[in-house]
């Protein structure tokens, strides 16, 4: 008991086998249905997320947020959906029609594919492959291709500029993100998602807080949310790579962005917050799903909070921050974690002492980083260019006559 | 069961297509694409030989990993060269890059 999902799937498999279908065919059918359920779940989550996000944004900005359609504005996302479904889907003149229309689908797929390996509970996981972490990085690259295709095929200079920015940002932030992901892999001795969850005693956010922080920052850049939303900086390049999209074409990019943020919450929960683990989750998978959703929401809330609090950075700041700060820091964290881990394994210490030493090592790196930043701050301040204050409106000079 | 020769013939076809691309294409970047096809064909062969040979001997996969690294290095340098040439001579057609042909 307590595992309704596997019970249903077993019952369904037996039903199909009872109809006399071949076993391989039954496996394929049940996998396809499972994939459809996971994908639909993701999209339904987005409907709720749009409301949640707008409510959070409203409250953080001292507004009420949506409150007209339905109680607490709960029907607002449905109103939005009806609006976007009924809009005409246009393809601009001179656009590359096939690429233009495939790109939103690819963007959506790149996010939905991640859910195939995320463990909802001990037994509820799409597929537990032994290269799960690398798989997540791999499907992320489809998102890059989708952005590039959308920007190029639109035949619009703003779209192309936006796509260039987006790809530069995504490709460069992938480097520290992958290095940061190596830390939980190293601590769990496995790239399988379920193994990583199972290895988290205590949670990896205690063993590797710096890696968690780097992962949070880089994955925010990967989605292109403020403060890293240069991809669609309205004041500079209209709407970036999806300038020319209307109706559901735009809708799919929008939904994939929302879902991506939620997915990153799920990844943070899985890698650093113990995934589905919690009291009683091993015997009662349904409880594991609940824990997983709560932890995912924590990650999601933090990202939304940061998004609503910080202004947009400049493109050179964005790239300099990545290459001159995050990548070296991630490398140092990885190397130190590996050395500490190996030496502690050789000495053979208790698990709590191991956790304490890991935490201390991370804090030490963080402290050293702050010291180094303070030491080079004067040099950076000298580079800053100060302009003469120039008033926007000048009173006209009094004339003689 | 898929026969080993299927994989090998598939790889041979991919290699031949890559060879055609390298020989027939004008644009230097397209030539690089042909080279990528050929490298991929070789990787298929390496992995197929690993799978159908002695599984304990992982050499096929290890070589494939090194081919990945070489391909990445080749593309990085190749494209840097193409862009550098484009900046100086305003062309990416391989035939027109003939400064050293004397």
């Amino acid at each position: 008991m307590g595992d309704p999902i596997n019970l249903i799937s077993q019952w369904f498999t037996n039903l199909l086998l009872g109809w006399g279908l071949a076993e391989n065919l039954v496996i394929v059918i049940s996998l396809a249905i499972g994939a459809a359920i996971v994908a639909t779940l993701g999209m339904i989550t987005v409907i709720a997320l749009i409301w949640v996000e707008r409510k959070i944004a409203g409250r953080l900005q001292d507004r009420l947020g949506p409150n007209r359609a339905g109680p607490y504005g709960l029907l607002q996302p449905f109103a939005d959906m009806i609006k976007i479904f009924t809009k005409e889907i246009t393809t601009p003149d001179g656009a590359d029609k096939v690429a233009f229309n495939i790109a939103p689908v690819l963007a959506m797929a790149s996010v939905l594919l991640i859910w195939a390996v995320i463990p909802f509970a001990a037994t509820v996981v799409g597929t537990n492959i032994n290269v799960g972490v690398l798989y997540i990085v791999a499907v992320g690259s489809f998102g890059v291709i989708a952005v590039l295709m959308a920007g190029w095929s639109s035949n619009n200079k703003f779209a192309l500029l936006g796509a260039f920015r987006a790809v530069a940002q995504m490709v460069s932030y992938e480097v520290p993100m992958v290095i940061a992901l190596l830390v939980p892999v190293l601590l769990a001795r496995s790239m399988g998602m379920n193994d990583i969850v199972a290895a988290q005693t205590p949670w990896f956010i205690i063993l590797a807080p710096l890696a968690a922080l780097i992962f949070l920052i880089t994955s925010m850049a990967e989605v292109g949310r403020a403060p890293f939303d240069l991809i669609e900086a309205e004041s500079e390049i209209v709407a970036g790579f999806h300038t020319e999209y209307s109706g559901m074409g735009f809708g799919m990019f929008y939904v994939s962005e929302f879902l991506h943020v939620w997915t990153i919450g799920a990844l943070i929960a899985t890698f650093f917050l113990g995934g589905w683990s919690g009291p009683g989750a091993e015997n009662l998978p349904i409880l594991g799903i609940l824990y997983f959703y709560i932890k995912t929401f924590i990650g999601y809330f933090v990202i939304t909070w940061i998004r609503l609090s910080l202004p947009r950075v400049r493109i050179d700041q964005l790239l300099a921050f990545n290459w001159k700060f995050l990548t070296p820091l991630a490398l140092v964290v990885l190397i130190v974690t590996a050395i500490v881990d190996k030496s502690l394994e050789m000495v053979g210490v208790e698990r709590w002492a191991y956790a304490l030493i890991m935490l201390a090592a991370n804090l030490l790196i963080g402290w050293a980083t702050v010291l180094i930043l303070k030491a080079i701050e004067p040099a950076r301040a000298r580079q800053r260019v100060e302009f003469e204050p120039r008033p926007v409106a000048v009173a006209p000079k009094p004339t003689d006559n | 069961m898929i026969s080993l020769s299927w994989y090998l013939i598939f790889a041979a076809a991919l290699f031949s297509l890559g060879l055609y691309g390298v020989l027939a294409r004008k644009n230097a970047i397209a030539i690089l694409m042909g080279i990528e096809l050929m490298l991929n064909a070789i990787n298929i062969n390496l992995v197929a030989f690993w799978r159908y040979g002695d599984l304990a001997n992982i050499a096929g996969q290890a070589f494939a990993v090194i081919v990945f690294a070489v391909a990445a290095a080749e593309v990085a340098v190749g494209l840097a060269l193409v862009i550098s040439i484009y900046r100086r001579r305003n062309t990416v057609v391989a035939e027109e890059i003939d400064l050293m042909k004397w």
Partner: protein, 168 residues
């Protein structure tokens, strides 16, 4: 024909068609997009061969890095691409002949080589090829020197690429 064989044939046909478009399409951005499909087909072939790690690395390295880099380079050199008409040089006939001859010759040799009789060894349940690959790549008795050389090569290529493409 078994299910797996049909799956292989579908993958092979799609991959080869995409590869054909890579080498024949006049529009280079389209060629790059077809290249992505080809590379994905090769990744699928790796999955059929039980090399999941290589399949995923193929997607990360080839699609995520190399193909994106190529599309970037094509767009940065876009003017020329638009100006010139046909994208093949004068020797394309000879090239096609050579390609076909090579393919025919290789197929002839392969069919007569006895590769068709090679048996498919069962994967051992207790040995993970991924773990084995990881250990051998850094083992002094196996491939640590090629592995390190590959990393040095990558570093050299990176520095070289920056030096070559540097704008004074």
């Amino acid at each position: 024909m078994s299910d797996v064989e049909i799956l292989f044939l579908i993958i092979a046909v799609v991959t080869l068609l995409a590869a054909l478009f890579v080498v024949t399409t006049p529009n280079l951005v389209h060629a790059a997009l077809w290249l992505i499909l080809t590379l994905f087909g090769v990744a699928a072939t790796f999955v059929l061969l039980n090399a999941t790690f290589l399949a995923v690395v193929q997607v990360v390295v080839y699609i995520g890095a190399i193909a994106v880099l190529m599309i970037f380079a094509i767009m940065l050199t876009r003017r020329v691409m638009k100006d010139s008409g046909p994208q093949t040089n004068a020797n394309w006939g000879w090239a096609a002949l050579l390609g076909l001859t090579l393919f025919a010759g290789l197929t002839f040799v392969l069919i007569n080589s006895g590769a068709a009789d090679a048996s498919l060894p069962a994967l051992a349940a207790d040995v993970d090829p991924l773990v084995q690959l990881g250990q051998e790549l850094v083992s002094p008795n196996a491939y640590v020197i090629p592995f390190e050389l590959a990393s040095v090569l990558l570093l050299a290529a990176m520095i070289g690429a920056i030096a070559v493409a540097w704008k004074e």
